[in-house]
């Protein structure tokens, strides 16, 4: 058949004009041009931005200082009439009675409270829909307060769900006026309860909450600390940095809450320079749901800082409390895996703890004398690092490992009597969004 067709074609007397090749050339040029044109795209262009973060106001008896990521960061005080941002005079800004709004920045700010009787550190965070606070107390000896900051320009609506060692408390709904904050004392919220966890849910508005834990015994202070907020409950929690406990002056406790409807079965593993182990009774321990459970870590000794890994069959939230007998205490919380983080520690002497199966962290810092330096921290299970005697101004960490690495810092005063933990976690997640485009199609079908 094909042969027949071929012979038909050959025998034909049709004369094909040579100019047909000109037409073919025109079409070829057209195709070439069309393929040569770079494909213009207006869709899918992504933009990323760091939202503004809020540092807490002065809480308790001490002073609060914001450690800003850079000199002349744009800041403004919440609850003040002026909505204009101003440039900070230095990288360290004293915070008055008003919370401080820091313009979005890739680096993370944090605040340090120093009352003389204790120190506490907290990350400055962006508006969060969900914040879990595991820590604090509503007991008579405590003066804990939850500061809810609405940095937005419209009223915010916030629900607070309190958990005690006995029950889930009724939801409390609050309306926070625009550009203001509101303080709720825990002794009013969960009166008489030592074991407290809070779930702060933002229904509308740009809200950031801070929990400040201040304890006393009679007239003497037992210390102060911020309870850093943590994200949604998870089945796998890692609290990266806990101070070593070798001389008996340090006691530790973990507080867990299973907010779901089923009891959880947990396993707890402690990592330290001395090795990894699961304390007796923590392998397959059942945690009842809906109640705050405090579990003392008795007889826990370690020559190095530690990390705690909690595995559970139900989502839970947890925190670890380290108490320096009679002088101070600190709450450590679980953190998400480290990616990249920059902080300003001017004037402080932090110690960093990293934990993970394969630790490979790049560290760049500017020393106290302004010299740029770098280090490469490699290890397994747990690794420690501090900038040394030259001190540190700004520091950045990058996880170079393929496996997750978790980090935290331990802050102590020069005498070592006061303690604070700061999770190595970005205060504001990089908000990635598709760049919106002005387009009339939004007004048409």
């Amino acid at each position: 058949m094909l042969k027949k067709l071929h012979s038909l074609w050959r025998n034909s007397s049709v004369h094909v004009d040579e100019r047909i090749f000109g037409v073919a050339a025109v079409l070829l040029v057209a195709f070439t041009v069309s393929y040569a044109v770079p494909v213009a795209q207006s869709l899918g262009k992504a933009q990323s931005a760091f939202p503004a973060t809020v540092c807490p106001s002065k809480m308790g008896d001490g002073t609060t200082t914001a450690f800003l990521p850079k000199y002349r960061s744009l800041v403004r005080h919440v609850a003040k009439k002026s909505l204009s941002f101003y440039k900070s005079a230095s990288t360290v800004e004293n915070i008055s009675s008003n919370a401080l709004l820091v313009e979005g920045n890739p680096a993370t700010s944090f605040a340090l409270n120093n009352s003389g009787n204790g120190i506490g550190a907290v990350l400055c965070e962006s508006g969060n829909a969900d914040q879990w606070f595991v820590g604090g107390s509503g007991g008579l000896t405590s003066k804990d307060q939850l500061d809810i900051v609405n940095s937005g320009l419209s009223p915010a609506q916030v629900d607070i769900v309190g958990y005690s060692s006995k029950q889930v408390l009724p939801v409390i709904s609050l309306v926070i006026p625009a550009n203001s904050d509101r303080t709720v004392f825990l002794d009013a919220l969960v009166p008489g309860e030592d074991g407290v966890a809070l779930h702060v849910i933002t229904r509308a508005g740009r809200v950031t909450s801070f929990l400040f834990d201040q304890r006393k015994k009679g007239l003497s202070s037992l210390g102060t600390d911020f309870v850093n907020s943590q994200g949604a409950p998870s089945k796998d929690l890692l609290i990266p940095a806990l101070m070593q406990s070798s001389n008996g002056r340090v006691s530790s406790m973990i507080r867990v809450l299973v907010p779901g409807n089923l009891d959880a079965n947990i396993k707890l593993t402690i990592n330290s320079g001395d090795g990894a182990f699961t304390p007796i009774g923590f392998d397959g321990r059942t945690i009842p749901h809906g109640r705050v459970i405090d579990i003392p870590l008795a007889d826990l000794t370690s020559s190095t800082p530690m990390s705690i890994h909690i595995e559970s069959d139900q989502p839970l939230v947890a925190a670890a409390l380290t108490s320096l007998k009679g002088s101070d205490f600190a709450w450590a919380i679980p953190v998400p895996p480290l990616t990249q983080l920059s902080l300003n520690f001017t004037g402080l002497n932090p110690k960093f703890v990293f934990t993970g199966s394969n630790i490979d962290v790049g560290i760049n810092w500017k020393s106290g004398n302004g010299k740029s330096m770098s280090a490469h921290l490699v290890g397994s299970d747990i690794a420690f690092w501090n900038p040394g005697t030259t001190g540190v101004r700004t520091i950045s960490f990058v996880n170079k490992s393929r496996s997750p690495v978790y980090g935290g810092s331990i802050l102590r005063n020069s005498s070592g009597s006061q303690l604070a933990y700061l999770p190595l976690r970005a205060g504001a997640a990089l908000e990635k969004s598709t760049l919106p485009i002005v387009d009339v199609r939004s007004l048409s079908h």
Binding site: V14, V26, V29, S42, T202, G205, T434, P436, R441, S444
Partner: protein
């Protein structure tokens, strides 16, 4: 037959030697002889006197400027009254009565004592069956009303004696004593309309006027047909039309009841203006001037009318309204006028129809084979075929019916107010589009001073066919587009000589072309018009070089059509300018030697540059016709590639290669359009090479351009190449089909070869396309982007709020195909034409919206509020993260949350126009759509929340206040003292440009229309 009457014939001559011999003979040969005859010659320069003398008719010589009435009066003065039965018979020197005319006239008046005037039936001098008058009246607009159709033939249809308002003085028999009692003909009416005036006066004096059709006179109408000069003293500038119109107005104004005068005056004026415009369009400016001057002459001298009315009052016995029954009703005037226009258009369109009919044999006897009796219809047995046989013989009826069914089924989701795809919401009235074109500031986004494209008013004006019901017009257009395309292409192919069957195939290819269905489904209004106009436009061959020798009328007609064509798609304008520019370059190159020899001035005046001038006119005229839009495109050349309406992504390169523009709603590519095959095949045919090359080039341009994406019309998409594909289709299909019609029969006699294979392949592809596309159209293809009665995007309460004095704006955020988009609304969805004038918002808005969506917009509400954006509406309610971001951004208070979206109020937002006083007091300046007015009690500043434009004005107590540019890019005015303010957008420049465009359009229309002929240029045979 003996009678009691004495008849005095009065002949008035004035250069009438051409007709006078017959007139004298006609009088002399009357069966009832005249009893007395007298002639008055008003200064004839020809041999009229000699003729009178040789005929033995007593005559008097008068001045050349003497009017007709004066001449009659003078003749009667010299011929004394015989008795009360004396009648005068007025005979014009160009009016020959039939030999029994007088006898019939006298017979009719004998038994009718109330009759004072009787007139004959007037027929043409040359065409003796041509009925000129059977009595005459006057319309309320001054027209001379005969009640006859154009060139009506006398077949006895008006042969009853009846009362009429008046009869022409040509052949009128008038009772002498009544004539004298009435004062004769009004001497103010030296010529024309004196007959109607006399008739009117006779009625109000208690007499009547009849026409006696049995009496016939043949009239040459020498004066009104401008066959002799009008020398009467009243004839200003000796212009017959001017005198006629002036006299018509005079007759109405002096005879009508006083209370009808205002209405009559209005009618006279408007009719004069309308007639003047029509005369201008017909390139008869002299006649246009006559129409206007006629009314002017009366206005200048009202005393004449007052005196004439006083005089008539003396002889009036009955109300002037007695003659009401003779005034033609308005509807019959309208009917007659429209029939006349239709007849003229028909003649213009089919000028050779008559000749064709004459040339074609009308009967067997015309062929000369058999005798006349064979054509007797009674002898031809009529055999009724069954219906199927009749339809089989007329397949186009079946296919039209099928096409209609397919279109209806495919459009089942498009019955109603259409929107979607590239088509924005259609306003309720076409007048809205006309006013939009005239506006200098468009309420789109933050406002725009962009030029509205000319397709907007054209569509608005075209909606006149649906009584300016624009939604109905657009619905019908989209519904009927395939049917119309089918019909138009069928007509063009048959006119080109194609047989009915091939024409149907061609029409099918065109009506089921992918570009048409893609355009319908995507709402491509501009391309649809291109598809519908292109076949007819290309039929007049606008691209050929023969146009360089064409008449100027043809040049401007082509330019006008191309201008209309380009108004709907700038890409076509770009193509036209390139093509004509290229040809113009060749013309210039060809004249280089003549330029060296003659210089530019002489060359341009020389006939040799005719081609160049015509080519230049073809190049520049369409461009001028679409100014100022085309000027804007010169400044922003990417606008050449934007289709009317909302930009929409379409196919890239391969669809274009297959003559399918692609995109949502386009037919699938496997339904291969045969157009490219046609184009390539046409290249092997010598006389089709040019069209093939143009079609292939259009497709190649489409392939290349489809890869380019451009920003414009408020959105971003690749270049829509539908018009190029439509043009390629219209260019190539007719030629190939005509060739195929002669070529395919030869396939049976040539040896089997390539020709058979190629032809078979093309036929197969065509058949698949013709069968597959209709099936697709009524199944998957009916799910188009364009749908009827779609829900409004902007919530109704936001629409309602937009009408408050603060004129708030709403930022509408939508997520379409994963892309977050926003646009500022003035309270409604995007309307037809809005996208074409949309311009980018200020950078402040762009940055603010980016920050807002990213969650970092701390001051978003403040900035949006400054621009008068009082509401934020999120259409995408499933985008929870965006909702949370906006909720958390601050400054936005939720107002409502419904399944259709969430509305936030922007706190502290400004109104459209805000006054901030010295003491910081803020006042909402009540605003209309564009302007605003208020009475301010203190100095301060006025902020206008519209995009900055140099034409924003603020008048403080009538004085202009300087415009300033606020820091955020808004217009701002500093008010130095209290007073009345008016904020407005100055559209003077815009209106000037539009006026220039209208003048250019009018000029081109006039130049393109066939010229009217002066009456003296029309042969007498045509007239009478």
């Amino acid at each position: 037959m003996a009678d009691k009457f004495f008849v005095t014939a009065v002949v008035v001559t004035h250069d009438g030697a051409t007709w006078l011999p017959q007139v004298i003979a006609a009088i002399g040969s009357q069966s009832r002889k005249v009893d007395r005859i007298v002639a008055v010659d008003t200064g004839s320069k020809d041999n009229s006197l000699k003729l009178l003398k040789s005929a033995g008719i007593p005559y008097f010589q008068e001045d050349r400027e003497m009017g007709y009435g004066d001449a009659i009066d003078h003749a009667l003065e010299l011929t004394p009254l015989v008795d009360e039965n004396e009648w005068i018979w007025l005979i014009h020197d160009d009016c020959a009565p039939d030999k029994k005319a007088l006898a019939h006239l006298l017979e009719a008046v004998e038994d009718r004592p109330q009759v004072a005037i009787a007139g004959p039936k007037l027929r043409g001098w040359y065409d003796r069956d041509h009925l000129l008058e059977v009595g005459v009246s006057i319309a309320s607009n001054g027209s001379r009303w005969t009640g006859l159709e154009r060139r009506e033939q006398d077949q006895g249809q008006h042969d009853d004696i009846r009362e009429v308002l008046a009869v022409s003085t040509a052949g009128a028999l008038i009772r002498r004593n009544v004539y004298e009692e009435l004062g004769g003909l009004d001497t103010n009416l030296a010529l024309f309309r004196d007959d109607i005036d006399l008739g009117w006066r006779a009625y109000v004096a208690g007499h009547s006027v009849i026409v006696v059709p049995q009496a016939v006179a043949y009239h040459a109408e020498a004066s009104s047909s401008e066959r002799r000069p009008v020398d009467v003293s009243e004839a200003f500038l000796h212009r017959p039309l001017l005198l006629d119109r002036r006299n018509a107005a005079y007759v109405l104004l002096v005879n009508s009841s006083w209370w009808t005068l205002p209405w009559i005056s209005i009618q006279l004026f408007t009719t004069s203006v309308a007639r003047a415009i029509m005369n201008l369009l017909a390139k008869l400016p002299g006649y246009a001037g006559d129409e206007i001057a006629a009314v002017g002459l009366l206005l200048i001298n009202p005393r004449e009318i007052i005196q004439a009315r006083r005089y008539r009052k003396k002889t009036r016995l009955i109300s002037p309204r007695i003659i009401r029954s003779f005034i033609p009703p308005r509807w019959s005037q309208f009917r007659m006028a429209s029939e006349g226009i239709a007849s003229l258009i028909s003649q213009a369109i089919r000028p050779s129809a008559k000749e064709d009919n004459r040339a074609a044999p009308q009967s067997y006897s015309d062929i000369g084979v058999i005798g006349d009796s064979f054509d007797d219809p009674d002898l031809i047995p009529i055999k009724d075929d069954p219906l199927w046989k009749i339809l089989a013989k007329k397949p186009h009826f079946i296919l039209f019916f099928l096409m209609s069914v397919i279109s209806l089924l495919a459009a089942r989701q498009r019955f109603g107010n259409l929107s979607g795809g590239a088509l924005a919401v259609v306003p309720q009235s076409g007048l809205t589009l006309l006013s939009q074109y005239a506006q200098s500031w468009h309420l789109v986004g933050l406002g725009s001073a962009a030029i509205t494209p000319p397709w907007v008013p054209i569509i608005g004006f075209a909606s006149i066919v649906t009584g300016f019901n624009l939604p109905l017009f657009i619905t019908l257009l989209f519904l009927l587009a395939p049917i119309l395309a089918f019909y138009i292409f069928f007509r063009v192919l048959t006119k080109l000589g194609s047989s009915r069957y091939y024409a149907l195939v061609g029409a099918g290819i065109y009506a089921f072309s992918p570009v048409l269905w893609a355009s319908v489904n995507q709402g491509r209004l501009g391309t649809l018009i291109i598809i519908l106009v292109a076949p007819s436009l290309f039929f007049i061959a606008p691209f050929t070089r023969e146009n360089e020798n064409a008449t100027w009328r043809r040049i401007f007609a082509i330019s006008l059509l191309i201008g209309l064509f380009c108004a709907f798609n700038p890409i076509v304008l770009a193509g036209w300018l390139i093509l004509q520019g290229y040809r113009l370059g060749i013309n210039i190159f060809e004249l280089r030697h003549q330029y060296r020899e003659m210089g530019i001035q002489k060359l341009l005046l020389a006939p040799v540059s005719g081609a160049l001038k015509r080519r230049f006119a073809l190049f520049i005229t369409p461009w001028i016709l679409v100014t100022p839009w085309s000027l804007a495109m010169v400044l922003h050349p990417t606008q050449f590639f934007l289709e009317p309406g909302i930009p929409l992504q379409s196919g890239i390169r391969w669809p274009q290669f297959l003559a399918n523009p692609g995109g949502p709603g386009a037919p699938p590519l496997w339904l291969i359009s045969p157009v490219l095959l046609f184009a390539l095949t046409a290249f092997t045919i010598k006389n089709l090479r040019t069209s093939s090359f143009m079609a292939t080039s259009a497709i190649a341009a489409g392939i290349a351009l489809s890869a380019f994406s451009i920003q414009g019309h408020g959105s971003f998409a690749n270049v829509w190449t539908g018009p190029l594909i439509a043009i390629a289709t219209a260019l190539v299909v007719p030629g190939v089909l005509l060739y195929a019609e002669s070529f395919i029969p030869t396939l049976t006699v040539i040896p089997l070869g390539k020709r058979h294979l190629v032809t078979g392949f093309i036929a197969l592809v065509t058949a698949i396309s013709l069968i597959g596309t209709p099936i697709w159209a009524i199944t998957g293809g009916s799910q188009s982007l364009v749908k009827a009665n779609q829900e409004q995007i902007v919530p109704a309460f936001v629409t309602a709020l937009a009408d408050t004095p603060a004129k708030p704006k709403t930022m509408v955020i939508n997520v379409i195909d994963g892309q977050t988009m926003y646009e500022i609304s003035r309270g409604s969805d995007l309307q037809l034409g809005d996208a074409d004038v949309t311009i980018a918002p200020p950078q402040e808005i762009v940055q603010t919206m980016s920050d807002l969506v990213a969650g970092s917009g701390i001051t978003s509400s403040k900035i949006l509020g400054q621009f008068g954006i009082q509401y934020l509406f999120l259409k995408a309610i499933n985008n929870e993260s965006l909702i949370r971001i906006i909720d958390g951004s601050g400054g936005f208070t939720r107002m409502s949350s419904t399944p259709s979206g969430i509305v936030w109020k922007v706190m502290g937002a400004s109104p459209r126009v805000l006054f901030v006083g010295q003491n910081k007091v803020q006042l909402v300046v009540p605003s209309l759509d564009v302007s605003a007015q208020a009475n301010l009690t203190q100095p301060g500043v006025v902020l206008v929340a519209e995009k900055y434009d140099q034409n924003w004005r603020l008048l403080l107590d009538g004085q202009r206040v300087p415009l300033q540019h606020a820091a955020n890019g808004l217009p701002i005015f500093t008010i130095p003292h209290a007073g009345q303010i008016t904020v407005l957008h100055d559209g003077t420049r815009h209106r000037t440009l539009i006026s220039i465009q209208l003048i250019a359009l009018l000029a081109v229309i006039v130049l393109a229309l066939p010229a009217g002929r002066r009456r003296r240029e029309i042969s007498l045979e045509e007239l009478v």
